[in-house]
């Protein structure tokens, strides 16, 4: 258990308690901010600080690797020349310049502030960067500040799962894991949880990347469908790999299964061009959640349980055809497709 302390740092509960034990009763209803101010007061050195100081704040508290970090450096001083100009240079922990930003002027809502948006480094953990003021109008010391990078994320990809799953039967699915920062995900593990959070299975991705990808490692699963029809929400949990030298964050991806009763009737679709009457091959047919495509003859066949369906038949360059109704026996539906001429050539060109 931990408690949010000031400045977004997570203070371990134990430490909090130990430090404050003697005064627990007094401080129980005091705002954390005041406590922090009291703590900081202990840290300020006795000598007076009257010269200008650079103060840097970092946002967000924990940046995504390769994400965005916003550094805001402002000058604090008792007195500043009115037309102070300068640039703040930001250097990373290797001493490389990450960027520089000009100070705003005194009329700006945030005067004498330099703001840099830059790409976050990749390595999780704390990085100590430096900010330095370059100005002819005043001098101040370099200041160090911490940029915290979150653990690497894990991408979870699920595919080749049938849109309509028959209850009580098994169905295939593929699970792919990848680290977007480029860590090798071969052999990483995952778990599949059902709607109640119980584990259905645990698995591991293989050593070969999925064709067409550079390094998406995958596993092919055959899973038993739930016994009850309806919508089921499952979760795939990708676990941080053990023994990896870079920390990764656990990732949970939710997926929805459409579990259907056994098919009872058939629906034949005939897709036709409304103007010419010609069959439309390769038209996409969707009677949610069942999907198929018409063949060369412009026809398709779906087997589904009785019920109410919205049927779409669509293909470029036609408007999507839509029909809704009850399907209680074998039937044939002719979809007349109208060409999408909302924009003629004349509309496109001068």
């Amino acid at each position: 258990m931990s408690v949010d302390g000031p400045a977004g740092f997570r203070w371990p509960f134990v430490f909090w308690e130990v430090g404050m034990r003697e005064e627990t009763e007094v401080i129980a209803h005091v705002e954390p901010d005041l406590l922090a101010a009291r703590d900081e007061a202990h840290e300020i050195e006795p000598e007076e600080r009257s010269g200008p100081r650079l103060v840097v704040t970092v946002s967000p508290d924990a940046a995504e690797p390769f994400g965005e970090v916003i550094l805001t450096a402002s000058i604090e001083a008792d007195e500043l020349p009115e037309d102070t100009k300068g640039e703040v240079v930001f250097l990373d922990d290797q001493g490389n310049e990450r960027g520089r930003a000009a100070l705003t002027d005194r009329l700006d809502p945030q005067p004498f502030t330099a703001r840099l948006e830059c790409m976050a480094p990749e390595r999780p953990g704390k990085h100590v960067w430096t900010a330095r003021l370059e100005s002819e109008d005043l001098e101040c010391d370099e200041v160090s500040f911490t940029v915290t990078i979150a653990p690497h994320p894990i991408s979870v990809t699920i595919w080749d799962m049938p849109p309509a799953i028959e209850q009580g039967r098994s169905f295939p699915m593929k699970v792919g894991l990848r680290c977007p920062c480029g860590c090798n995900a071969q052999g990483w593990t995952f778990r599949l949880l059902d709607s109640d959070g119980s584990e259905i299975l645990a698995g591991q991705v293989g050593d070969e990347p999925w064709p067409g990808t550079a390094s998406l490692y995958y596993a092919c699963l055959d899973v038993a469908a739930p016994d009850t029809a309806g919508s089921h929400r499952w979760t795939v949990v990708a676990e941080p790999p053990e023994g990896s030298d870079v920390p990764h964050a656990e990732r949970r991806l939710s997926i929805v299964l459409n579990v259907m009763r056994q098919p009872e009737v058939s629906l034949r679709i005939r897709a036709r061009d409304a103007k010419t009457g010609e069959p439309v091959a390769g038209a996409k047919v969707v009677a949610h959640p069942y999907r198929t495509r018409t063949g060369e003859d412009g026809e398709a066949l779906l087997h589904l349980p009785k019920g109410t369906y919205t049927v779409f038949v669509s293909r470029s360059p036609y408007f999507a055809f839509k029909s809704q109704g009850e399907i209680s026996e074998d039937m044939t539906l002719t979809a007349e497709l109208h060409e999408d001429r909302a924009l003629t050539d004349a509309e496109l060109w001068a």
């Binding site: 994400g67 080749d160 919508s231 997926i255 949610h288 999907r291 470029s316 004349a346 509309e347 060109w349």
Partner: protein
């Protein structure tokens, strides 16, 4: 050197209203300066060292500019065209050549009589019936000033047109048609009318050439290679956009688009001895005094277009008549007049944003930005003329035409308005041709904003309401010949409620989002996100030249998170990371499985598809600012008018820099150029 305007040659087309004493004194003031202020005028002209002198100087060699230049040259005066691009043609060169005029113009009459063209190229019968072509000036003028017409966005395109300018335009449509025909332009059968050209009659043919063994403007032929039809993935230096089949409007072997209009006009201009200075951007007008006196010349800067890798300067297709002047800044004297024809403001985010602040976003270009470069549609005429006191017109008219700015259905390229292929020298500025997925293609992916969130029903995004043009397309209650001009029922509340057909998807795309930051609050780029299944469903060819893995408008990745990272790292206008993309895709897949999209009701219009199968893709979705409406105010002679309502002596304008005419495309520019060229040549030097 010569005294300016000493014989009262300052022309005010309307004369002075005897009741407007205030205006009269202002006008007299101008004349006095012209007459009596000769000494003062002489001082300023004497100070200027002119590098060149011509009778008429035309700023811009496109639709209005070439027309004006040839027309002035026909009157026997010396003419110089100054153009910022490396070649002539402006945007006319990449247009579709759909040229809407009317009023009983020669092509309407030809088709009405069922005749073919004098060369016998046209072998198909007329597309429109005689009644649909039976036009006259009064009807045309009525159409383009019709108070009652309202479009699918409840905006009125004709109500705010400048009336005197419309009268002059209507009267000059037939002579301009003839003029173009006399300068090697060949017109197809008339088929409909273009946007803003009126609802009563069919007025627009295309321009064509015949495929043949030689490209010969006089003979009217073009080779398949030059026309870009020999290879579907090649465009030629002659034709930046591949020409289209004109069989339906001419007969077999005919091709049509802006090449068949711009190249013949350019050929004629060069043949007649018009001089041309390219790579030369007109920057300032030189007026005798800041807000008084005559416009006597221009200042123009050398801004060469060079190949980004070799540094070599791009060269025009033809060179006869070119003046190769490379000095950084020169002053060109116009003894008779300057004609502004340098295009509109669509390519200048700082200026166009006066009409729509969200479009200050520099990520969104104007059409044809590769062909014309950064100097295209840069509002140069507007800026220069405002500096010397010009007045404005039609400043709300950008809102009343559907393509002024719109979402393009061509994805994966910045230059999304045209599909120029490799082969044209400016292809290097776009790097990819893009994939035209059509309206239907928008059902195959999700559209996300710069932070990776969906913002609208994708299927409704590219839809645009129809333009107001013959034969109607739902613009007015009466279709075709049943249309009644000037009828209150054209804009009754009942009709508007019935005909309103705009979903504001574009405006949702331009809205402030989590990534919009002070002070500009840019809305950022837009992305189409899809998977390998979508590629297999659609057959889209995700390869060069349609997309490029290097220009930052197409990305492919193993996972959604990686796709987001690649876009953030690789796209020039992606200022913030797409932090919500993974969550958006996960949520979308849930909606697909559940069959319902609670955010945007996407399931009502077309099927939804999961984005699940790797690899994953991103293609840029572009907002293009194409038309410029709103600009300089002109009278019936295309003279630029000042803030007191008086013509600025020696200054004319035509085409997209002129405001007060909500007409899309070529028909506006050609006639205005014809009028401007006519009167400019008549000015006293």
């Amino acid at each position: 050197m010569t005294t300016k305007g000493s014989k009262g040659s300052v022309e005010t087309s309307n004369g002075l209203n005897r009741r407007d004493f205030f205006k009269a004194s202002a006008a007299a003031g101008v004349s006095a300066a012209a007459l009596g202020g000769a000494a003062a005028a002489a001082e300023s002209t004497d100070e200027i060292k002119w590098d060149y002198e011509y009778d008429v100087v035309v700023c811009g060699g496109g639709c209005a500019g070439l027309t004006a230049a040839i027309r002035a040259r026909d009157a026997g005066v010396s003419v110089l065209i100054v153009d910022q691009n490396f070649d002539l043609g402006g945007r006319m060169l990449h247009s579709g050549s759909y040229l809407s005029l009317g009023g009983g113009d020669p092509i309407q009459k030809r088709d009405m009589a069922g005749e073919s063209d004098p060369e016998g190229f046209i072998t198909v019968p007329p597309v429109e019936s005689p009644e649909e072509l039976d036009d006259n000036i009064e009807l045309l003028f009525t159409d383009v000033t019709d108070w009652s017409i309202v479009d699918g966005k409840a905006q009125s395109p004709y109500r705010y047109n400048e009336r005197e300018m419309m009268r002059a335009w209507a009267e000059n449509c037939p002579p301009t048609r003839q003029f173009l025909m006399d300068n090697y332009v060949r017109f197809t059968r008339v088929s409909g009318t273009h946007g803003g050209g009126g609802l009563s009659r069919a007025r627009a043919p295309y321009c064509f050439l015949m495929l043949g063994d030689k490209t010969d403007i006089k003979a009217g032929t073009i080779t398949p290679e030059d026309a870009g039809v020999a290879d579907p993935e090649r465009t030629s230096p002659f034709a930046p956009v591949q020409m289209e089949d004109a069989t339906q409007f001419v007969g077999p072997n005919a091709v049509r688009n802006g090449v068949a209009l711009a190249r013949p006009l350019e050929f004629s201009a060069r043949e007649k001895g018009v001089h041309i200075m390219l790579h030369r951007a007109f920057v300032d007008l030189i007026r005798e005094k800041p807000f008084e006196g005559r416009v006597i010349g221009i200042r123009a800067e050398y801004r060469p277009r060079v190949h980004p890798k070799t540094g070599e300067r791009l060269e025009s297709f033809w060179q006869n008549g070119n003046i190769d002047e490379r000095r950084p800044s020169i002053r060109i004297r116009a003894r008779k007049a300057v004609i502004l024809a340098s295009g509109g403001h669509a390519g200048n985010p700082q200026v166009r944003s006066m009409f729509y602040p969200a479009m200050r976003e520099p990520a969104f270009p104007t059409s044809g930005f590769a062909l014309q470069g950064p100097g295209g549609q840069d509002a140069s005429a507007l800026i220069a003329a405002l500096k010397i006191g010009a007045n404005l017109a039609g400043m709300q008219q950008n809102l009343s035409y559907p393509t002024t700015y719109h979402i393009s259905t061509t994805l994966g390229t910045r230059d999304a308005y045209t599909n120029m292929m490799p082969g044209h020298p400016t292809f290097v500025f776009r790097g990819s041709a893009g994939i035209n997925v059509g309206n239907a293609g928008f059902e195959e992916f999700i559209a996300v904003n710069q932070v990776g969130k969906r913002f609208f029903n994708e299927v409704r995004l590219p839809k645009r309401p129809a333009a107001n043009r013959y034969p109607g397309d739902g613009a007015a209650p009466g279709k075709g010949l049943d249309h009644k001009p000037l009828d209150w029922r054209n804009c009754s509340a009942e009709w508007i409620r019935k005909s309103y057909n705009y979903d504001h998807g574009l405006d949702a795309a331009l809205a402030i989002n989590e990534g919009s930051r002070a002070p500009n609050y840019y809305s950022g780029p837009l992305w189409a996100i899809f998977d390998q299944d979508a590629v297999e469903r659609t057959g889209w060819e995700l390869r060069f030249p349609y997309v490029s893995e290097e220009n930052g408008y197409f990305f492919k990745a193993d996972s959604i998170e990686e796709l987001a990272a690649k876009i953030y790292a690789g796209h020039p206008f992606q200022r913030v990371p797409l932090s919500y993309l993974a969550q958006t895709v996960e949520t979308w897949n849930r909606y697909v499985a559940e069959g319902a999209d609670p955010e945007f009701e996407r399931e009502k219009d077309a099927p939804m598809y999961a984005i699940a199968k790797p690899p994953f893709y991103a293609l840029s979705i572009m907002v293009i600012w194409h038309d410029s409406y709103g600009g300089l105010r002109c009278n019936g002679r295309q003279q630029v008018i000042d803030m007191q309502g008086q013509p600025i002596p020696g200054l004319y304008a035509g085409g997209e820099c002129v405001g007060g005419f909500n007409k899309h495309g070529l028909g506006k520019g050609h006639v205005q150029g014809f009028i401007a060229g006519t009167y400019a040549a008549k000015e006293q030097a």
